[in-house]
């Protein structure tokens, strides 16, 4: 927007424009925190039963140097080569990611739960030369690797950097009790061996030389995303993109993020851009102690973390906050030291944010962004001027506007596609110039999200363009309907989609996961009638056990639709399952 009305609403300690960064690239940012915070604990990986291992800033810095040497000197990878990384949150992940940056290589984050097909696509599309993978998921490699250009495999264990006995117990349980350690049938090197090889060949000048020729616009990561077309493609995020977005977000939080003092819980997966930039890069830069949780499912996995550490910050998605609010151990003794929470990835329901604030007595605000924007575009101020239901105001050095189909900026309050411009917008999609050209136009990133903006510059997401339901020519935004149903007592989660209808073109269908004392179908419909126009009221409500979700817990409407479609074509008796 030309007049940037949001600048007037920045808290006093937030700069309008980000000062020129002192960091030329990510390795600068990584080393700066390591030298400032040295022996302070950087990462603590916490298992569901409380077992844990930690490394200091200096240790992570040193190990990632060794890993960089291993990649460049031992494996002989060349600058710009891609390295795929496939593991849940663990200490090793941080060393691997930082090592890749320090080696001048490109990180390709990969979901460990991917199917063989998805892995094959991502590895071959990115042209990855090496793969760092967790042992638990390495059983699919014999089928996948031959179809890719991967030449080297490094295998990581989940209990790496834990005390020896604890690590032994964890491996013993994995091997003999839960039987989650498959035999790895491809040639590979163990992570610790890779580190010691790197350590032997380590030389300070050598590591520094990897950064020759590296600058802010060098690609640092290929972050895969479905985007609007559905085919998974790699967003090229540069060192500048990631460094600036880290600083943009931190500057937006002002005094709520105290350097060297925060303890943050990282329950969302680091291979997702939200946790990657905010939790890994942001809180590292801040000198926080980062509590890495391998998986937040079930939510009881977080019980020990909250019991054993004085958590001051939390990031999450609506689903995670909601799940915690449904856990008795959590509501019975909410975290005492919490200062603030940030939600992203999907819209934060007002019913959830209200309950969260009431229970913890601390602010929770919603931000917004895309993989293509590293990810943060907008964020709500934490100082109490944030507005529920909105995604907040653009972060410093960022411009945002809503435009109509014709590309003209729409009036205040009118819905239009949200476009963003700033130093965090990606370089483009890897090897896909046409899609890049249609997504980033004159520096403006087309998000595919429909939003409105108020006179103060607070943006509200109305919905995804493609999720919009057209009922007899009227636009129905699933978010709005979901918000209403979620507010109803006894509703745990809800997903709303449009399904074809002979009369109205499309009709609204709600899938509800019940909590204790669930409402009836009639209750839900009656409730919606009170607050929604008739065409927005679901024509049918179905109770299900689970909703399909993305790795970070975002409810996937496209999977809901697919589920519904297969149900229609399949036998009538087939029940809807997660």
């Amino acid at each position: 927007m030309t007049n940037k009305p949001w600048l007037a609403h920045y808290p006093s300690d937030v700069p309008h424009e980000l000062p020129t960064s002192e960091f030329r690239h990510l390795p600068d940012l990584i080393r700066s925190a390591a030298s400032t915070y040295g022996k302070k604990t950087a990462f603590t990986q916490v298992m569901a039963n409380g077992m844990n291992g930690s490394l200091s800033f200096a240790q992570v810095d040193q190990y990632s140097d060794h890993f960089a040497v291993y990649l460049r000197d031992v494996l002989r990878l060349q600058p710009g080569d891609r390295v795929a990384v496939q593991m849940p949150n663990c200490i090793s992940y941080t060393i691997v990611a930082f090592g890749i940056f320090k080696a001048g290589l490109v990180l390709v984050n990969t979901n460990p739960l991917y199917t063989q097909n998805e892995m094959t696509h991502q590895f071959s599309d990115s042209g990855a030369k090496a793969l760092v993978v967790i042992d638990m998921f390495a059983d699919r490699l014999p089928e996948v690797l031959p179809k890719t250009s991967i030449e080297h495999v490094v295998v990581v264990r989940i209990s790496q950097f834990f005390p020896a006995i604890v690590s032994g117990v964890i491996r013993g349980t994995q091997k003999f009790w839960s039987r989650t350690l498959p035999k790895i049938k491809v040639p590979h090197v163990l992570f610790m061996d890779a580190l010691s090889q790197g350590s032997k060949a380590f030389h300070k000048q050598k590591v520094d030389s990897y950064l020759d020729g590296l600058n802010g616009s060098t690609v640092a990561a290929l972050q895969y995303t479905g985007g609007t077309t559905g085919v998974s493609k790699g967003a090229m995020l540069s060192h500048d993109n990631l460094v600036t977005n880290t600083l943009q977000l931190i500057s937006m939080c002002g005094d709520y993020m105290r350097p060297g003092k925060e303890i943050v819980i990282t329950a969302l997966p680091l291979y997702h851009i939200f946790a990657f930039t905010i939790n890994l890069l942001g809180f590292w830069h801040l000198g926080a102690r980062n509590l890495l949780v391998p998986t937040p499912r079930p939510p009881s996995n977080l019980k020990r973390v909250f019991e054993n550490y004085k958590v001051t910050w939390m990031t999450g998605v609506n689903t995670l906050f909601n799940a915690l609010l449904n856990e008795r151990w959590f509501t019975d003794s909410p975290p005492k030291h919490l200062r603030a929470s940030a939600a992203g990835g999907m819209s934060l329901h007002e019913s959830v944010s209200e309950r969260w604030r009431k229970l913890t007595g601390t602010p929770i605000v919603e931000g917004y962004g895309l993989t293509e924007s590293s990810p943060v575009i907008t964020f709500n101020p934490l100082n109490g001027t944030g507005r529920d239901g909105t995604i907040g105001i653009p972060v410093p050095s960022t411009d945002v506007k809503c435009v109509s189909e014709s590309g003209a900026e729409v009036a205040v309050g009118e819905p239009g596609e949200l476009l963003a411009k700033g130093p965090q917008v990606m370089l483009g999609y890897w090897n896909r110039p046409e899609e890049t050209a249609s997504t980033v136009v004159d520096g403006w990133l087309k998000t595919g999200d429909i939003a409105t903006v108020d006179k103060d510059g607070f943006f509200t997401i109305v919905d995804r363009k493609k999720d919009m339901i057209l009922v007899s020519g009227f636009n129905v935004y699933p978010n709005e309907v979901e918000e209403q149903i979620a507010a109803l007592e006894g509703v745990k989660e809800v997903g709303v989609i449009g399904v074809p209808d002979e009369k109205s073109g499309e009709k609204v269908k709600a899938f509800v996961v019940a909590a204790d004392n669930p409402p009836t179908v009639d209750d839900v419909i009656a409730h919606c009638r009170k607050s929604l126009s008739a065409y927005k009221v679901p024509s049918s409500v179905v109770f299900v056990n689970e909703l399909p979700k993305s790795p970070i817990g975002k409810i996937l409407r496209k999977d809901l639709r697919a589920m519904w479609l297969s149900q229609q074509s399949g036998s009538a008796s087939k029940t809807v399952k997660g």
Binding site: V46, M47, N49, G50, M51, N52, F162, P163, I165, V166, V169, T173, R304, E307, N308, N326, E327, R328, W329, D332, S333, K492, V513, A514, A515, D516, N545, E546
Partner: protein, 320 residues
């Protein structure tokens, strides 16, 4: 206090039933098990339980109301058909078995049965702490009732209180250590659960073959008491819990928890309080046989409960 046993002609000696090596191992195991129990605990867990005490209260009453009564009834009806010199010490063992708290093994079974694990754990803790008061009280009451005409059969209640108090020390130690090192706490917690199973495996591997003669010569009434205590205990508890309108998953959890008693603890109590007593072998029969059969009973019940719990999960998602 123990002279009645001296007077009774003992047919089975202590060594026949449990060797000194087994005794030492057993006490060590009980220590680790209790340690593990404590290591899984925080003070918050108690607060949480107190806020929603219905399941806990019901569990308490089935544990210390129903189980001792069941042990008393089974022993009175069946054991005393046998000669009194044999029946009396065996009945003492049965009463003791019925009066001890729940064991950690029940938590493992609850886990497999897809029950309410949090409730199971907190019930184990709750009944274990109350054991200090309730186990001696139950023994005193039912012992007095059973042997009211023969005061020489009195049960050494004071010794039992001391033994249980000693057994609570590792629980408190475990809790303390957990506060200082989550790692050591978690390892101990895990070990405790496994040692419970290990104990039973050990018993099967060594004790059964060596005491084969004893097992084959033991009258059916004793089998009935040892098996019935667990089986009827679970059935009755489930009935009581359901009639109090406790939901299916929780009712099944309470039933498993109540029926699976702390066998190793009972045996340890016998060894520590009746040490040197010639009839100790007979006192040990029911606790030892109970510990063996409860694995089989619990496995069958767990399979059955798992089915129901899974079915229920379809209807009530998110039940803690």
């Amino acid at each position: 206090m123990l002279n009645f046993l001296l007077a009774a002609p003992a047919t089975v000696s202590e060594q026949d039933v449990v060797t000194p090596f087994e005794q030492a191992l057993l006490l060590g195991l009980v220590f680790v098990i209790m340690f593990g129990l404590g290591a899984g605990l925080t003070l918050k867990d108690f607060l949480h339980a107190l806020k929603r005490p219905k399941g806990l209260i019901v569990g308490f009453f089935t544990q210390y109301g129903l189980m001792p009564l069941l042990a008393f009834s089974l022993a009175s009806i069946f054991l005393f058909q046998l000669p009194i010199e044999y029946a009396a010490p065996v009945a003492v063992g049965a009463l003791l078995m019925g009066s001890v708290p729940g064991g950690t093994t029940s938590n493992l079974f609850t886990y497999f049965a897809k029950g309410n694990l949090a409730l199971s754990v907190i019930m184990t803790i709750n009944t274990t702490i109350w054991a200090l008061l309730m186990t001696p009280l139950a023994l005193f009451f039912y012992g007095g009732l059973m042997f009211k005409d023969s005061p020489e059969w009195e049960i050494p209640v004071t010794n039992i209180v001391v033994t249980i108090a000693v057994m609570l020390v590792p629980v408190i130690l475990g809790m303390t250590i957990r506060r200082f090192s989550a790692n050591i706490g978690a390892v101990l917690e895990l070990l405790g659960g496994f040692f419970g199973l290990f104990f039973i495996g050990f018993l099967m591997a060594t004790w059964v073959p060596r005491n084969w003669g004893l097992l084959t010569s033991t009258p059916w009434q004793v089998y009935l008491v040892a098996i019935g205590l667990g089986l009827f205990g679970m059935a009755a508890t489930f009935g009581v819990a359901r009639s109090l309108r406790i939901n299916g998953v929780d009712a099944r959890t309470i039933a498993l928890e109540t029926g699976i008693l702390n066998g190793p603890l009972a045996i340890a109590i016998v060894l520590l309080t009746f040490g040197g007593n010639p009839a100790i072998g007979l006192i040990l029969i029911v606790p030892a046989m109970y510990s063996l059969f409860i694995v089989i009973i619990s496995t069958l019940v767990t399979l059955r409960f798992r089915k129901s719990n899974l079915a229920e999960e379809q209807k009530i998602p998110n039940l803690l």
